[in-house]
């Protein structure tokens, strides 16, 4: 929305076309920009390259991609239910990685642009309460490090976004999350980080320090915590 407010046209992808339609209309009326949308399921791994081409044909040169999909699932279910475990790992890691590659090749040939991807602070350290989701995000963060390095020759910028808990449907109803942050704050931080070509964004800022400390705790002690 903040990009739309700044006058950029937007192309939305998601599974729920009714909602995509409503969001598109809203952005157009509020911000006076053109908004397209198309149904998209990240579990479907073929056809990404064609989709990116289709977007570019319809909307013109693509400046950047924001990939904000994820599935938290339920940790204890994932521990016993193979399908759930695969879904969490697959959606957050495999789906996003494959999609990033399609975006990357497109921008690489243009030698410009950016890819901003939602990872999570949960990927910075494995914790007993959330390690399935966390490991997928951790894998994703490592994937993005490599991709960043690969693309920097061609002038394409990769941003890894690591939010703390954000007040969205993913977390709604969970009791007492520390430092729950409004999504608008995460959004404006992302917009700024893209403009400044930052590599890794912790949002809100204090999470950089918190995760630094958490990463520094020796495993021998950390494994005994119930975090």
């Amino acid at each position: 929305m903040q990009w739309a407010e700044a006058g950029y046209p937007i192309y939305l992808l998601g599974r729920d076309t009714d909602e995509l339609q409503r969001i598109s209309t809203d952005l157009e009326l509020r911000c006076g920009v053109k908004v397209w949308h198309k149904q998209f399921d990240s579990n479907e791994h073929t056809g990404h390259a064609a989709l990116v081409r289709e977007i570019a044909d319809q909307a013109g040169a693509i400046e950047g991609f924001l990939i904000a999909l994820g599935y938290m699932g339920d940790q204890s279910t994932s521990e016993t239910d193979v399908a759930e475990c695969e879904k969490v790992l697959g959606t957050n890691f495999v789906d996003v990685a494959v999609l990033c590659h399609a975006c990357a090749s497109h921008l690489e040939s243009l030698e410009t642009g950016w890819i901003a991807v939602l990872s999570s602070v949960a990927g910075d350290r494995g914790r007993m309460s959330n390690y399935v989701y966390g490991s997928a995000k951790g894998g994703l963060s490592v994937f993005l490090q490599g991709l960043r390095s690969r693309l920097q020759k061609s002038g394409v910028h990769v941003l890894t976004v690591k939010p703390g808990p954000v007040d969205t449907s993913m977390t709604f109803g969970m009791s007492k999350l520390p430092l729950l942050c409004p999504p608008e704050k995460v959004a404006s931080d992302i917009v700024r980080a893209v403009a400044k070509r930052k590599d890794v964004l912790y949002t809100p800022g204090p999470w950089r320090l918190i995760m630094f400390i958490l990463r520094s705790v020796p495993e021998r002690l950390f494994k005994k915590t119930s975090l």
């Binding site: 009714d18 409503r22 809203d26 509020r30």
Partner: protein, 440 residues
């Protein structure tokens, strides 16, 4: 389960909250359910300790806008602030606004809110051309003003269903500024005269009252009148007269301890407010400072501390208003119960909303910090208001009894009849509806 309260932080209850993100999920759940917007009603209207509270705030999208007529349709969770932010630069303004822009379209229709222009333009519902309502059965109905259910929903405090979309007729404006006039008034008679004298009239009028003043200066205050400024009134050096530079709000830091609110500090605050707002003569003001002076301080309600406060708002019919208002002010002034804000406003003719608050006359609202004995004091005040033909505003109320409601709202039975047709089991219910035994 979470702790939840209205804007007055009294009462506080346990709440089972849901917050749908997709329009099709905005439906009633469970046996007892109530919608909640931005929670700017002061009492227990948007609380439901025996069931589910459905937050509408994620359903806040524009659906349709006609730039030639100013007719806008949006989801009920859209705030007036967001609506104004998008529409003022295009030359449109909301037809009626309460004293905060942090409230939703659904909340404005459900409380049938009034603004400083009630004497001219009526309540919010008058300007609503259509509303989509989700009924207890889950069925969706599009209502217009010829439908009795529309007039039960306007002012119906969420008890007829969940409002999903609202279509509203905006009014054209040439600038984002107001032409404002402040007049100091030494006493109540002058204040009331300023509010009623056609020579002082404007589209928006209101008076702020120093409710601690007593004796000859009882009812003294500042009369404020405003009109949307035409282009010609705005200096040419302002680039685009429809655009303002948005200021950020400052959050109110912490709940102040109760002792910070003795009559002395209140007096200081009143004096400060007086000199700040009491600028003389006419001046140009950006619309947010004119309509929403308190929104500049986020969560100002926390200055009343953990115990919270009651906002007492009633209206008295024109015939008895002048004399009775004096007595009410005298009692508040004597008891040193009221605080910062006492706002006096003249209402025009009553609208068709079955439970809409405004009736022709004068309305006064005061913030009253919770303290021991306060509920009894207000019960006494209720009796006085009732005896003088007045009523209390449901969106502000947290404490009156069922008899007071019945006496003040003679169209209550009609409301209950309409409601029975669409919600016979009373699925839509709130702490307010149970406290007031609304439709037994």
């Amino acid at each position: 389960m979470e702790q939840l309260a209205g804007w007055g932080n009294f009462p506080v209850t346990e709440a089972n909250l849901v917050r749908p993100e997709r329009l099709r999920d905005l439906v009633p759940v469970g046996d007892s359910v109530i919608a909640r917007g931005l929670g700017r009603s002061y009492g227990d209207a948007a609380l439901n300790s025996s069931g589910t509270t459905v937050l509408t705030t994620k359903l806040d999208r524009f659906v349709e806008f006609d730039a030639t007529t100013g007719l806008v349709r949006a989801e009920a969770g859209l705030s007036l602030g967001a609506l104004l932010k998008a529409m003022v630069p295009r030359g449109w303004f909301v037809p009626v606004t309460p004293g905060t822009q942090n409230c939703t379209l659904g909340g404005c229709l459900a409380a049938d809110v009034h603004g400083k222009n009630h004497h001219r333009d009526g309540t919010f519902s008058r300007h609503v051309t259509k509303a989509t309502l989700v009924l207890a059965s889950g069925e969706t109905r599009v209502l217009n003003q010829s439908d009795p259910l529309f007039w039960a929903t306007a002012g119906g405090m969420g008890l007829t269903g969940i409002i999903r979309e609202v279509e509203l007729q905006l009014i054209p404006v040439e600038t984002a500024y107001m032409q404002v006039k402040h007049v100091k008034s030494p006493d109540l008679d002058t204040t009331i005269e300023l509010l009623t004298d056609p020579a002082h009239d404007a589209q928006y009028t209101v008076a702020w009252i120093d409710c601690l003043a007593s004796g000859a200066s009882l009812g003294r205050g500042v009369f404020m009148a405003g009109d949307h400024a035409p282009k010609s009134a705005v200096p040419l050096n302002r680039e685009d007269p429809l655009r303002l530079k948005m200021k950020n709000t400052k959050p109110f830091p912490i709940d102040l301890p109760g002792f910070a609110l003795n009559p002395f500090t209140i007096k200081l605050f009143n004096a400060a407010y007086n000199s700040f707002q009491g600028r003389r003569g006419e001046f140009l003001s950006p619309y947010p400072s004119f309509f929403y002076p308190l929104d500049g301080i986020d969560q100002w309600n926390r200055m009343y501390g953990k115990r919270g406060f009651v906002q007492y708002q009633f209206v008295l019919p024109a015939a008895t208003a002048q004399i009775a208002m004096r007595e009410v002010l005298r009692r508040f002034s004597e008891a040193r119960r009221a605080s910062f804000l006492a706002v006096l406003k003249r209402f025009g003719a009553q609208g068709p909303g079955l439970l809409s608050f405004p009736t022709e006359g004068l309305t006064l609202s005061l913030d009253i910090p919770m303290s021991s004995g306060i509920l009894e004091f207000l019960d006494g005040m209720d009796a006085f208001v009732r005896n003088h033909g007045g009523r209390i505003y449901l969106a502000k109320d947290s404490r009156m009894g069922p008899e007071m409601l019945r006496a003040g709202y003679p169209r209550l039975d009609e409301f209950c009849e309409v409601r029975r047709l669409v919600d016979p089991a009373g699925r839509f219910s709130s702490d307010l509806s149970r406290r007031l035994k609304l439709c037994p």
